[in-house]
Amino acid sequence: MFGSINTSMILAILPEIMLFILAGFVFVFDLVWDDSQRRNLGWISAGGFSLIIMISLMLGTPGSDSGLVWGGMLRHDWLGFAFKMLFLFGATITALFAMDVEDLGKKGEFYLLLIFSTLGMTLMASSSNLIMLYLSIEATSLPLYILAGFFKDDDKSTEAGFKYFLFGAMASAIMLYGFSLLYGFSGTTDLDAIAGVIKAGGMNPVLLVGTLLMILVGFGFKISAVPFHFWAPDVYEGAPTVVAGFLSTASKAAGFTVLIRVLLTSYAPASDTWMMVLAIISTLTMTLGNTLALAQKNIKRLLAYSSIAHAGYILIGVVAISELGITGSIFYIIVYLITNLAAFGIVSVVGRITGSDEISAYDGLSRRSPWLGLAMLVVFLSLAGMPPFGGFIVKVLVLASAVKAKLFWLAFVGILNSIIGLYYYLIVLKHVYLYRSENEQVEIPVTRPYAIGLIVLTIGIILLGVVISPWFNVSTIAAKVLF
Amino acid sequence: MSDPINLIANWLQGLLLGLGLSVGLTKIILSFVGAVVVATIGMLTVIFLIWLERKIAGRIQDRLGPNRAGPYGLLQPFADVIKILTKEYTTPDGADVVVYNIAPIMAVASVLLIWAVIPFASTVVGTNLNVGVLYIMAVGAFGLLSILMAGLSSNNKFALLGAFRSVAQLISYEIPMVVSLLMPVIFARSMGLVDIVEAQMPWFIILSPLAALIFIIASMAEVNRAPFDLMEAESEIVAGFHIEYSGMKFGMFYVGEFLHVFTVGALVATLFLGGWRGPWAEQYPILGLIYFYIKTFVGYFIVAWVRLTVPRIRIDQMLDFNWKFLTPLSLVLLIITAVLDRVLVLVNSERWVYSLVMFLANILIIWATVEVLKKTTSKPKRKEFPMRPVAMAPETSTSTEPSS
C-alpha cells in the first residue's frame, strides 16, 4: 500500500512533517484556549521549533550519498539540512520575541503562519526541482505577506503588507516565467538535468541569459538585492518588528539558499555568464545599502538598508564560485541571521516601551538598561564586522575568497563599504552610550522570552566569532555538496 | 430493428458516401446532424415538460391544472409558445446590448452542452469523453456566467441582486455536487459516463444512497428550483436576473431552466440509477433508451415534487445549509468511501460484499448525521402558553374565586 515510501524518504522530510504536526497543535490549542492562555502558544511554538531541531539533529542528518528523494523533488544533503536548522532556529527566536507584542503574541494565526512560512523555507532549502522550488517559495512568501500586514488597524503595517505582496507577486510572476522558459528550452524541471542540457550546449546562450535574469528577479527580491530592494525599507518599517526581523533573516537566508543552489547546480556550466552580472549586483547592493543607511533616522529603516548591504557582502562569496567562497557565504548567512535577529529583538523591546523606532529614542539606553545596551553593542559591532564577534570572521572569509578568485576590485569595494558601514553603526552606538535623555530613570523591562532570546543570540554572536571551527566545518560540508 | 438510431445513422452515412463526399466530411456532417437532433429533442421535451409540471403542480395543490386547450390541456404549452413568440422584445435603457442578448442564448447552450456526453443507450452516445464528469462541471460554469451576464447587463438593481445571489448560491453548491459526483467515479474507476453506466452492477444508488441524495439536493440548488430559487424570489426581488427580459428572450431562460431540471434527472439516471441498464437493454438498445427516459423522468419528478412541497428558504439558511452541513457531510462520505474502497479492493472482496459494505457505511453515516443533528441543532423553543379557559368571569368580583 505504501510500498514506494521508505524510511529515508520520511527522514528527508522529518522537519517538515514535525512542523506540520506542530501547526496542528497550535491550531487545536488556539481553539480550546481562551485569550488569557493564548500567550502560551509562543512557548509551544518556540519549544516545538527547538524540539524539531533536536530531533532532526539526532535522526534526520543526511548521509554521505545526498540522494534525490520523493521522485526527484528534494535533495537530502547537508546544504539543505544546515539551512533547515538555521531557519528553525530563526523561527524559534521569532516566536519568543513575538510573545509579548501587543495584538500579536496572543494570536494563534500569527504562530500558525510563522510555522507554515518556516515549512516553506525548509522545503526551499532542499528542493531540487523547479516545480517544488516555485511552490515552496510561494509557501514561504504567502504567509509572510500576511504577517507583514498583520496589524490591520495600523496604516503603516497595511501598507507594508500590501507593498510586499504586490512587489512579491510581480517578482514571483517574472521568476515563474523564467522557470517556464527554462523548462521549455531544456525539457526538464530537474535542476541537475538542466545543468546537463546546458553543458551539452542544448540551450541558446541568449535564452540562457534571458531565463537567468528572469529568475534572478525573483531571487533578488527575496534577498533584497539592488535593484529589487525598494520594498525592504518600507516593509521593515511598517511590518511588526518581529516579522521584520524574520523577513530580514530567515526569509533572506532562504532566498540565498535557492540562489546558491540554482546558480551552482543548474547554471554551473554557464558560470562565466552570470558571474559578472552577480558581481555588479553585489557591488550595487553593498554601495547603495550602505550609503542610503547613512541618512536614516529610523532604526528599522537603518537596519533595512544595512540588511541590503549585507546581502551584497554575502553575494561576494557566491561570485567567487569556489568552495571557500560558498563556505564564506554560508557562514556569513549564519552569523547574519543570528546578529540581525538580535538587532530586531532589541528594537522590539525598546519599541514596546518608548513607542518609537527613531534612533533618538535610543538616547541613554545604556543608562536605562545596561544589559540591553551591552547586547546592542555586541550586535552592532558584529554587524559592522569588528573582532572578536562573528561579523568579523565572515567578512574576512568572503573577502578572502574574492581575492583568491582574483576579483581584487570587488574585495576593495567590500572593504570600502565596511568602513562606511562602521560609521553609521557607531552613530547608533553613540546614541546608546553617549547621549543623555530626560527619562533616564524609566527602566526598560525585558520580559522573560525576550531575555532568553537575547541572551542566546548574544552568546551566539560571541561564540561564532571566537570558536570558529565547528561553524566553519559545517559550512564547508554544506558547500562541498555543490562542488 | 433492435437499434434503429444507429440504423438510420449508418444509412445516412452510406448515402453521403454514395454522393462522393470524403470520409472526414461525412463524419463532420453526421456529428452535426446528431448534435442538432439531440438538441431539438431536448427542446421539444421541454414543451411536454412544462405541461407535465403544471399538471403535477395542479394535482399536488389540489387543482386540475391546464385542461382547456386540447385533450387534458396537452396543447396548452403550444399556445404559450405562440403567445411568447409574438411578444415584443424590450431592451431597457442603458443596458449593455451585446451582453444582454448573448446571456439567454448561453443559458440554453450551457444545458444542451451537457447532453453531448450522456449515454442514451448502449450504442447511442454523443461522445465518450474520458473525463465526462469533469466536463459536466466545466459546462455548468457557463450557466452561471449567463446568469451573471444577464444580471449585469440589464441595468436594473433587482437583476443585479439576483445575480449576486446566484453567485453565492451556485458557487457554494458546486462543492458538495462535485464531491458527491466523485462517488460514482470511485466505484466505476473512471470519469467517463459510458464507463460509469457500464459499471453499475448494482446501481450506484444502492452503493451510495447518500451521494445520490447530496447530488440531487445540490443539483436543485444549481438549477435554481424551489426551495433554492432565491435568485428569482418574486416576493423579494420581483424576478431576479431575468426581470428585464421579454418575449422569447425570457422564454430562453425559461426553457433553459426546465431543460436543466430535465438534465439533472438524466444525470441522476446516468450516475446513480444505472442509465440505460435494464433487462435486455444490451441486446435491444432501443429498450435502453426507453429505460433511460423512464429513469430520467423519475429524477425529474423528484425535483418537481420537492419544488412544489417545500417553501423557499432564506439566504442565510441557504448558505448555512451548504457550508455547515452539505459540504462537511459530502467530504466525510468521500473520505470513508475512498478508504473503504481501498481496503475492500485490497482484500479482494466479492462484488456483493463490496456493495453491502458500502451500503451499510452509507446508512451508518446517515444515522450518525441524524444523531449529531439531534444533539446539536437548537430547536426554536416552543412557547408554552398556560391553558386558559375561553371565557372567564371578570376579576373584580373576588367572591367568585374559590377559597383555598
Binding site: 528534494l74 503562519l113 515552496s136 | 474520458n130 453567485v167
Partner: protein, 172 residues
C-alpha cells in the same frame, strides 16, 4: 491534417483576437468576457492535443470559478467603466519597446533554434487521462501536491485574518 490545420489557425486567430480584446477593451466586463473566451479557446487547444483532463480543468477552474469571481467583484465595485487611466508618461513607449523585444525573441527562437524539431511521438495509451495524471500527481509530484494544499490553507487563513473584524471592547 488539413482539417486540423484549419482548426488550429482559426482557434489561434480567436485566441489572439480575444487576447487583444482583453487588453484594448475599455469596459471591464467585456475584458473579463474576452478572457473567458480566451480560456475556452485554449481549453480546445488542450483537447486537440489529447489532454481532455487539462482542458476540462482549465474551463471549470478558470472560466467557471475564477472569472465568475472576477465578474462578481466588478459587479460589487460597480467598476465596469474604466476611468481615464493615469499611466506614467514613459510607460507606453517602454511597453512598446519591450513587446517588440519579446516578439524578436520569439521569432529568434522560432527560426534560429539550435536543436532540430523532433517528430511528434505517438502518445502512450491513456496519456493525459485522469488515471495517468493521478498516478503522476500522487507519486512523483506528491510533495508539491501536498504543499499546494498548505498554500491554499495559508491563503484561507490569510483571507480570514486580514478581513475578519475583531470585536474590540469599544465596539461592543
Amino acid at each position: 491534417m488539413t482539417t486540423e490545420l484549419i482548426l488550429f489557425f482559426s482557434l489561434a486567430l480567436i485566441a489572439i483576437i480575444t487576447g487583444l480584446g482583453l487588453l484594448i477593451s475599455k469596459n471591464a466586463i467585456y475584458a473579463a468576457l474576452y478572457l473567458v473566451l480566451n480560456f475556452f479557446t485554449i481549453a480546445i487547444f488542450y483537447l486537440l492535443l489529447g489532454g481532455a483532463f487539462i482542458a476540462m480543468a482549465q474551463v471549470s477552474v478558470y472560466a467557471g470559478a475564477i472569472m465568475v469571481l472576477f465578474l462578481f467583484v466588478i459587479m460589487i465595485l460597480g467598476a465596469e467603466k474604466l476611468g481615464k487611466s493615469n499611466t506614467v508618461a514613459w510607460q507606453r513607449p517602454v511597453a512598446i519597446i519591450l513587446s517588440i523585444i519579446l516578439l524578436i525573441e520569439a521569432g529568434y527562437v522560432l527560426f534560429w533554434r539550435t536543436a532540430p524539431v523532433q517528430a511528434a511521438q505517438t502518445l502512450p495509451d491513456g496519456f493525459g487521462g485522469p488515471a495517468s495524471i493521478g498516478n503522476v500527481l500522487l507519486n512523483n509530484y506528491l510533495l508539491p501536491f501536498e504543499i499546494t494544499s498548505v498554500l491554499l490553507l495559508v491563503a484561507m487563513i490569510g483571507a480570514i485574518v486580514l478581513t475578519h473584524k475583531q470585536k474590540t471592547d469599544k465596539e461592543v
